[in-house]
């Protein structure tokens, strides 16, 4: 017969024990995404060559198709911004999604000082604020350097969306969970390129493994003047930009 004191004592231990067990059980199930793939051998990143982007938007379309991103122009895992810096130093920025095309701006070529495109996506930060704030650990960094969301665990509190300085996250209206770029994780573990990189006609996006000196990304980092977005926030992005303009945020 168990007395009351003993029962209460055991109950006190039972609750954290369940939590611990669940955590261990969850880890036990985590296995290599593809047979023979060892995440500890890789560290992924992306380089974006501003000089090469022509703003065709094929990366955006490819991403939406590959990853079942809702087609409406309010949800993007990657998007392309067009910067127009005018002679009076004013800056105009536009998301150049094909569905939003509302031409009719009055900017004439004579007003323009310089103009360029900036592809944006999740920066796969080394020090990700989104992972830090997730209350249930649904957002996590993989060993090979990609920040992922477990949509079976995400409770949809959207704290991570608030914490991301880059606007890279959204609440997927279908799953009601946080959603973002995964570097096409399902593809890269098989040795394929992310969809956006695959379709880019000018090779403005350079995907690669930072642990392999032979990777195109390492070469990109060697040859270009590179910078990251919002460096002052100390998020340490693994998406790096070549020849990025100081106006870009």
């Amino acid at each position: 017969m168990i007395d009351r004191r003993k029962f209460l004592k055991r109950a006190v231990f039972f609750i954290p024990a369940v939590g611990l067990f669940r955590r261990l059980a969850g880890d036990a199930q985590a296995k290599a995404p593809v047979a023979g793939y060892d995440p500890s051998n890789h560290l992924y990143g992306m380089g974006i060559d501003i000089d090469k982007c022509i703003g065709c938007g094929r990366c955006v379309e490819a991403c939406k198709t590959e990853n079942n991103v809702p087609k409406e122009p309010f949800f993007f895992r990657t998007w392309v911004e067009r910067y127009t810096i005018k002679k009076d130093d004013s800056v105009e920025v536009e998301n150049i999604d094909v569905r939003l095309r509302k031409r009719g701006d009055t900017t004439t070529e004579a007003d323009v000082l310089r103009s360029f495109f900036v592809p944006k996506l999740c920066n796969q930060c080394q020090n990700p604020p989104c992972v830090q704030v997730c209350p249930v650990g649904a957002t996590f960094s993989t060993e090979d350097g990609v920040v992922l969301v477990d949509s079976n665990r995400c409770i949809g509190c959207r704290y991570c969306i608030q914490a991301c300085p880059y606007g890279a996250r959204f609440l997927n209206p279908e799953t009601k969970t946080a959603d973002k770029c995964t570097f096409c994780y399902h593809r890269i573990v098989k040795g394929l390129l992310p969809a956006c990189v695959e379709v880019c006609p000018t090779q403005a996006r350079v995907f690669g493994d930072l642990k392999s000196m032979a990777s195109r990304l390492v070469r990109f980092k060697r040859m270009k003047r590179i910078t990251v977005l919002k460096a002052h926030l100390n998020t340490e992005p693994k998406v790096v930009y070549g020849n990025l303009d100081g106006e870009v945020r």
Binding site: P70, F75, F76, V133, C134, C154, A163, Y166, G167
Partner: protein, 402 residues
């Protein structure tokens, strides 16, 4: 995707000025997340007022002691609901308890909440009411007497020694309770203050501002309730008590106001990258809710009124009238404070190049009606509490006053 959402977001998009990141068209935290810190603030504030009575033995404020505790409990019971309703997957909320991610400020919610509810508030209430519960269980009719008996955990000891122990216990709980109440609301401020991506939120002062505004709103709420409930219960408003609490309120508002002015001047003087967009935010999108409601109606007018009441020798009736008007204005102001933090922080783009608009749903789960229901619910709970556990009309309370 449901066409309704697409329609709503298309409308949002047409309201955007300048450039915002495309994923920012949807405002993530709506009216329910405004209600949440407002309610926890009331809890923390009401409890801190109750604790003042205990810790510093302020006899004048004794009549509001039980009322403040019951108010805190009634609001605390509702506090998690707005959060729960706003989740994308409410049924998974238990994960916060089972597999918390300990680096997350939000993951602490469950623990802070439970600690505060179980270890502080319920325990203090139990010791406070234990003697009465025992007495009532003898005098009340069925089924109330059984309820009282169960709630008193079948204790029967009302000897002087037992009651003295109750009082001692209450003092100890209060000692733990005050930092806990600070934790409860300071931590809510930290949830916002620690977001470095958002310059409107990311400020080290945020937990302090939240805390002080919580104390302000909690005290104002207890004054409001006392002025409404006491006459209804045939108690009459004790003017000594009212004057005393209002002076606490006065000082709390001054500290709160000072902190907010400090935050404002600091931002303006540092004039960081975000200053331009934040200026546009406060002068355009938040003009009414910040300058008119929060600052003017919610702080300056009540402060002026309270100064006037203090310096002029007014009749009791006039004082009551002015106090009553002040606490309602303050309540309005604090709600606007929460609004300006939560909604305001999402109205500008993290690209600092544009502003968006929040269009509140009316009937949806995250809509106005639900928010109003959540704000009314604690008052209904409190009414039931006051019926079952009278805050006055007890001998011990009367003894304490005299």
């Amino acid at each position: 995707m449901n066409p309704e959402l697409a329609q709503r977001l298309t409308e949002h998009l047409s309201e955007v000025t300048g450039f915002i990141y495309p994923n920012e068209v949807e405002i993530q935290w709506g009216i329910l997340v405004v209600v949440y810190p407002y309610i926890t603030g009331l809890v923390a504030g009401a409890f801190i007022l109750a604790s003042l009575v205990q810790l510093f033995n302020v006899k004048e404020v004794q009549p509001t002691y039980r009322l403040a505790l019951l108010t805190a409990l009634a609001f605390l019971l509702i506090a998690p609901l707005p959060l729960l309703l706003h989740l994308g997957h409410p049924l998974r909320s238990y994960e916060i308890f089972l597999t918390p991610q300990l680096k997350s400020a939000m993951a602490m919610f469950g623990f802070v909440y439970l600690w505060y509810l179980m270890a502080v508030l319920l325990l203090e209430l139990w010791f406070e009411y234990r003697k009465d519960l025992v007495l009532w269980s003898k005098n009340a009719g069925f089924p109330l007497n059984s309820i009282y008996r169960v709630l008193s955990f079948f204790s029967t000891d009302v000897s002087e020694r037992a009651v003295a122990f109750d009082h001692k216990a209450i003092r100890v709980i209060t000692l733990i309770g005050v930092p806990s109440a600070f934790l409860l609301h300071g931590y809510v401020g930290f949830i916002f203050g620690s977001v470095k991506a958002n310059p409107w939120w990311g400020s080290v002062l945020m937990p302090l501002v939240f805390l002080m505004s919580a104390i302000v709103s909690g005290i104002a709420l207890v004054i409001f309730l006392y002025m409404v409930v006491a006459p209804l219960k045939g108690e009459g408003v004790d003017m000594r008590c009212l004057d005393k609490i209002t002076s606490y309120l006065f000082y709390a508002v001054i500290v709160d106001f000072t902190l907010e002015v400090l935050d404002f001047i600091h931002r303006l003087y540092q004039s960081e990258e975000s200053i331009k967009i934040l200026s546009r935010l406060v002068m355009d999108k938040l003009f009414v809710s910040l300058w008119v409601i929060q600052v003017l109606l919610g702080m300056l007018v009540p402060l002026a009124v309270m100064v006037a009441v203090k310096s002029l020798k007014l009749t009791e009736e006039l004082r009551r009238l002015f106090y009553f008007a002040s606490v309602i204005l303050i309540q309005l102001g604090i709600f606007a404070t929460r609004w300006n933090v939560v909604i305001g922080g999402q109205l500008f783009s993290k690209s600092f190049r544009g502003l968006t608009t929040y269009k509140m749903e009316v009937v949806g789960i995250e809509g106005l009606f639900v928010a109003i229901a959540l704000l009314i619910a604690p008052f209904i709970i409190l009414t039931v509490f006051l019926k079952i556990f009278p805050a006055w009309e007890t001998e011990s309370a009367h003894e304490a006053i005299s």
